[in-house]
Amino acid sequence: MARVSSATGAFWRDERVLRAAAQIVSAVLVLAAIAWTVLNLLEAAERRGIALSFGFINLPAEFPISESIIPYDPSKTFGFAFLVGVLNTLKVAVIGVVLATILGTILGLARLSSNWLVNRIALVYIELHRNIPLLVLLFLWYFAVFNKLPSPKDSVVLPGPIFLSQRGLYITSARLAPSGLIFLFALGLGVVLAIVAWVVLRRKREQLGRPTYYAGVSLAILLLVPALGWVASGGNPLVLDVPVLEGFNFKGGLRLTPEFGAMLVGLVTYTAAFIAEVVRSGIQAVDRGQVEAARSVGLGSMQILTLVILPQAMRVITPPLISQYLNLTKNSSLAVAIGYADLFNVGRTMINQSGRAVPIFGMIMATYLLMSLITSLILNLYNRRILRVER
C-alpha cells in the first residue's frame, strides 16, 4: 500500500496511522468483550460455587449410557463417558457416510438415466428429502417406524435371521471358531494374491496389447484360496451367534438399538439426497466432447464410465462430497432429540450430572472443531494434489 500524503497532511490522514488505529480499536473492542464475559463468569462461578476446573474428569460418572462400543458402566469416569459419546458419534457417522455415499451415488446416476420413470422417481426422492427438515425425518423414523415395531415376541423376521422389534435390530453375528484362524489366513492370502494378479496381469496387458483376463483370474483367486482355507479348517471356521428369544427379550447376536437405527436411516436417507445432487452435477460437469471422443476411439460404455467420466468427475465431486460427510457428522448431534447417546447427548447428561457446564461445553465444541479441522485438512491436501495433477 502506498503512503498517502503523510508529509503534508495531518497524522489522521496518514493511511498507516489509520490502519494501525483501526486494528487497535477492533482488537481492544473484541478483547474487552471477551474479558467482560470472562469476568462475569468468574464472578458467577464464585457466587454460585460453580467449579471451572477439569478435575471432575476423573470422578465416577454415575449415569448409564444406553449403548457403547467399549465396555461402560456408571462407575467409569466422566472422561471415559465422554469418550463413549465420541465413539458413538463416530460409529453412526462412519457407517452413515458409507451408506449415504452408496445410496446417493445410485440416486445421482438415476437422475442421469435416460429412463424417464427412473429419472423422475429419483427427482421426487431428492426434492422430498431436501425440503423436509432432518429432525422431522428423524422423528418420523424413530417415533413412527422404529418405535412402532412389534414386541420381541412377534418380531419381524428377515432372512439371516434378523429380528426386527421394538427393542431394536437383532442380527445373527459370527464369531471365529478355534480352527477359524486357518480360514482367516486363507482369506487374507486370497485378497493379497488377487490384488497382485490384478496389477501384474493388467500391466502385462498394456505391454503386450492383448487381453490377459485379469479380472477373471483375480476373481478366481479371490474365491478359490479362501474356499480351500474353508475346507482345511474343517468346514466350519465360524460360529454363528443366533439371537434367541428369552423371556421378554433376545439374547445373543448383534444388537442395534432403535435409536441407532433411526439415526442411521434418517441421516443416510437425508444426506443421500444431497450427495445425489453432488454426483449428478459432477458427472454433468464432464464435457460431452470427452464422451464422444472416447466413443470414437472405440471404448465401450463401461470403459467410458470408468476410464473417462469418473476420473474427471471425481475432481468436481470430491470437495463437496467431503463437506457433505462433515455435515452428516455434525447433523448426528440431533441424536439428542431421539435419545441416541452421541457426543452432544452424553455431554449434556454430563453437564446435568456434574454441573460443570462451561468446561464440558468447551470439550464438546473442541471435539466438533477438531473433526471439522481434520476434514478441511483432508480437503486442502486433496485440492493441492488435484492442482498438481492438472499442471
Partner: protein
C-alpha cells in the same frame, strides 16, 4: 400445393412431434435393461403409492391435525388477541402485492403461491377454532390485499424507496404489534412463551436471516480486509461457528450464555434462540457474501479508485451492490435451510411447529399413537414452504442469469 412441389421446402419441414408410443419407446424402453428397469419401477411405484394412498385416506386418523389447526399456526397465542397476528399477515400481503406490482419479477411466483394458499385455506372445510367466519375472513382478505397492492403499485406512483421503507417498517412494527405493551389496554403484552407453532418458526427463520445479513456482510468484508487483526477475528468467528453443529450454538445462546452475563441480566428465551440462529446464520452468510465479493472483477475497483472514490465509497457504492446482487439466490437457499433448521429450537424448549406436534400427541390419550399422522403433516407443511421458496429462487436465478448477459 405449390410448397409440396418444392422438394427443398419439404425436406426443411420440422420433424413430426413424436407420438406417445414413440415417446414411450424412446424414454422407457430404449434398451432391454431400461425396459426391465421401467417394469420394476412401475411395480415399486404401484406398491408404494397404493400403500400411501390407502393409508392417507382410509387408515390414518387425522384428528390430531384437524381438531385444532390453530395450535399449529400460533401455539397458545391468546385467542382474543389473534387479530394482531392476522393484521401482521395482512400487512405482509399488502407489501407483497405492491412489490409484485413494482418489480414483476420472480417475486410474483411467491405472491401467487401465498395468495393461493391463504385464499384456498379460507375456503377449506376448516375445523376447530378456525371454523368461524371471522377466521375465514382474516384469511380471505389476504389474496384480496395482494391484488390491491398490485393494482395500487401500477396506479399510484409508489417508488421503490418507499416500498423498501415499508418493508423495513413492517419488520419493526410486526414484532412490536405481536409483543404488545405492558401498559396498554387494547394491545396488552403477549409474552413470547405464549407464541408458538408456525408463527415462531417463521419468526426465527425470517428474523435470523435478516439480522444475520448485516453481520454477515461485515464479517465477509472483515475476512477480506488487509488489516491482519480484523481478518483474524472475522476468520476465527466464521470458522468456529461453521465448525460446530447448530445444536451446540443454540445450546450455548440459550443456556451457557447466561453464565457469561452479569447477574440479573435476563434475555427473553425466544430472543436467546433467535440470537443463536442469527450467529449461526451470520457465519454462513459471510461465506456466501465472500463468494459474491470474489466475483467482482478487479477492474471495477481500479475504475472506482481512478474516478476518485475512497476505499469506503468503493466498497459501499461499487463492490457491495454488485456482490450482493450476485448472491441473492444463495441467500434464498440459506433462508430455506435456516427455515428447516428452526426445528432444532425444540431442543432448547421453544414451541416451534415441531414441538407443537409433539405436544398435541400428548394432549389426548387417543392421540398417543398417532405420531405418523402428526409428523407427516408437519413434514408436508415444511415441504410446501421450502418448495415454494426454492422454486421462486430458481426462477430468480434464471432471471439474474439472463440479466447479466
Amino acid at each position: 400445393m405449390a410448397e409440396a412441389a418444392d422438394p427443398g421446402l419439404l425436406t426443411l419441414r420440422p420433424p413430426e412431434p413424436p407420438g406417445p408410443l414413440a415417446w414411450i419407446r424412446k424414454n422407457l424402453l430404449n434398451t432391454w435393461y431400461n425396459a426391465l428397469l421401467t417394469i420394476l419401477s412401475f411395480v415399486v411405484l404401484y406398491i408404494v403409492l397404493s400403500a400411501i394412498l390407502r393409508w392417507a385416506f382410509f387408515q390414518a386418523d387425522w384428528r390430531p391435525v384437524t381438531r385444532n389447526p390453530l395450535l399449529y399456526l400460533v401455539g397458545s397465542y391468546p385467542r382474543a388477541q389473534l387479530w394482531r397476528v392476522g393484521l401482521s399477515l395482512q400487512l405482509v400481503s399488502l407489501l407483497l402485492g405492491i412489490s409484485t406490482g413494482l418489480q414483476r419479477g420472480s417475486i410474483r411466483y411467491l405472491a401467487v403461491a401465498v395468495g393461493l394458499i391463504l385464499g384456498a385455506s379460507s375456503l377449506l372445510p376448516l375445523t376447530g377454532e378456525l371454523d368461524s367466519l371471522t377466521a375465514r375472513g382474516f384469511l380471505l382478505v389476504n389474496p384480496l390485499l395482494i391484488a390491491l397492492g398490485y393494482v395500487l403499485a401500477s396506479r399510484l406512483a409508489i417508488s421503490g424507496r418507499l416500498l423498501s421503507i415499508g418493508w423495513l417498517a413492517s419488520l419493526v412494527l410486526i414484532p412490536i404489534l405481536l409483543r404488545g405493551f405492558s401498559q396498554s389496554e387494547s394491545v396488552p403484552t403477549v409474552e413470547t412463551t405464549a407464541w408458538g407453532g408456525l408463527l415462531v418458526t417463521l419468526f426465527l427463520a425470517v428474523g435470523g436471516i435478516l439480522l444475520s445479513f448485516p453481520i454477515g456482510v461485515l464479517l465477509a468484508l472483515g475476512r477480506r480486509s488487509t488489516l491482519p487483526v480484523v481478518k483474524l477475528f472475522s476468520t476465527a468467528f466464521i470458522e468456529i461457528v461453521r465448525g460446530v453443529p447448530l445444536v451446540t450454538i443454540l445450546f450455548m445462546s440459550s443456556i451457557i450464555l447466561a453464565l457469561f452475563l452479569p447477574q440479573g441480566f435476563r434475555i427473553d428465551r425466544l430472543i436467546r434462540a433467535l440470537l443463536g440462529m442469527t450467529l449461526f446464520s451470520a457465519a454462513y452468510m459471510a461465506e456466501n457474501v465472500r463468494g459474491g465479493l470474489q466475483t467482482i472483477p478487479k477492474g471495477q475497483i481500479d475504475a472506482a479508485k481512478a474516478v476518485g472514490l475512497s476505499n469506503f465509497q468503493t466498497t459501499l457504492l461499487i463492490v457491495l451492490p454488485q456482490a450482493l446482487r450476485a448472491v441473492i439466490p444463495t441467500i434464498v437457499g440459506q433462508l430455506i435451510s435456516l427455515f428447516k433448521d428452526t426445528t432444532l429450537a425444540i431442543i432448547v424448549a421453544i414451541n416451534e411447529l415441531l414441538s407443537i406436534g409433539k405436544a398435541v400427541l400428548q394432549s389426548d390419550i387417543e392421540f398417543l399413537q398417532l405420531q405418523l399422522e402428526v409428523f407427516v403433516f408437519i413434514a408436508a407443511v415444511f415441504w410446501i414452504f421450502s418448495s415454494v421458496m426454492s422454486y421462486s429462487s430458481r426462477r430468480l436465478e434464471e432471471r439474474l442469469g439472463v440479466g447479466e448477459r
